[in-house]
């Protein structure tokens, strides 16, 4: 399983798991964002187009691992519920929701999910918390939550390589490892973001985001 995860991660040919905390689920009006995550929960990919200052629409695909290997495909709507633009930072509350289908061992069911993301970010510090609720018909009903803290060892400007040292904790009651801690490093250059980490249950995390 680990070898499979590694291979899929590095080749990025798999379906990915959107880490909503990977980047904000909205960009600027007219902007498009591709996010991919490969971690101990599985693989997700999402493609989002921001069509108003507070809304983005896209497609979300997740292949779960480390439990039931459920494939979920849903359109998604990401909504900025509240933003605080501060002199030295930014706080946000987002909702992300999707409705589509889930497939597991020949069984296809309607799928619904919704998640909230609260974050605060300055050029030095990062904090986020995300609870997520998933309904996959008679396949699975689950809840998971994620928290992250991060610090930038140096303050980078727009044209510099940004580096963040982060620590993520996932609580996923439906998975074999209920609580998983992942230290990670984030690199950020203009519209390209890459995260690499290694979880307490010995999975490599590779996430990336491109905005265009």
């Amino acid at each position: 399983m680990k070898r499979k995860t590694l291979l899929l991660s590095f080749l990025t040919i798999s379906f990915a798991g959107r880490s909503i905390s990977l980047a904000k689920p909205l960009s600027y009006v007219g902007g498009t964002m591709v996010m991919q995550e490969n971690d101990e929960t599985g693989h997700t990919i999402s493609l989002d187009y921001t069509f108003t200052p507070t809304e983005a629409f896209g497609l979300y695909v997740k292949q779960e691992e480390n439990g039931k290997e459920i494939l979920m495909i849903t359109p998604e709507l990401n909504t900025l519920l509240k933003r605080w633009n501060l002199p030295d930072g930014q706080g946000n509350i987002f909702n992300m929701s999707g409705a589509g289908v889930a497939h597991y061992r020949g069984n296809t069911q309607p799928a619904l999910w919704t998640a909230f993301l609260a974050d605060y970010e300055s050029r030095r510090f990062f904090l986020s918390y995300e609870p997520r609720f998933v309904y996959d018909g008679n396949i699975e009903k689950s809840f998971w939550q994620r928290a992250r803290v991060g610090i930038a060892p140096y303050l980078a400007n727009y044209n510099d390589l940004n580096t963040w040292i982060m620590f993520q904790v996932d609580h996923h009651p439906a998975k074999h490892d209920h609580v998983v801690a992942t230290p990670l490093i984030r690199f950020f250059y203009k519209t390209y973001l890459l995260e690499v980490g290694y979880s307490s249950n010995q999975h490599i995390m590779v996430n990336w985001t491109v905005q265009f």
Partner: protein, 93 residues
């Protein structure tokens, strides 16, 4: 202090170019994605010659093409659409 030095430099440069230059102090800009959103938003405006985002100074500098301008309301809307808040606007020739 660096904010004012940046303003002065931009004023001098814009005077040489003899075109409108807008300096907007903006809250909420913390990362490259923020800067890209603002940059792409302004580059899509036909009146705009160049745009520069300085995260450290929290400053967006927009140089206009000769004889062109963007009024304050429009400027605030464009930056608002990118997700950020304008605190103050200064203009120079």
């Amino acid at each position: 202090m660096r904010y004012y030095i940046t303003i002065v430099i931009n004023l001098v440069l814009s005077a040489v170019a003899s075109a409108d230059t807008i300096h907007a102090k903006v809250n909420g800009m913390v990362c490259g994605f923020c800067a890209t959103g603002i940059e792409k938003t302004f580059k899509a405006q036909p009146q705009v010659k160049t745009v520069n985002v300085d995260l450290e100074m929290k400053l967006v500098t927009v140089a206009m093409k000769d004889g062109q301008t963007i009024d304050d309301a429009r400027l605030k809307k464009l930056i608002g659409n990118a997700g950020y808040s304008v605190v103050s606007i200064e203009r120079s020739k």
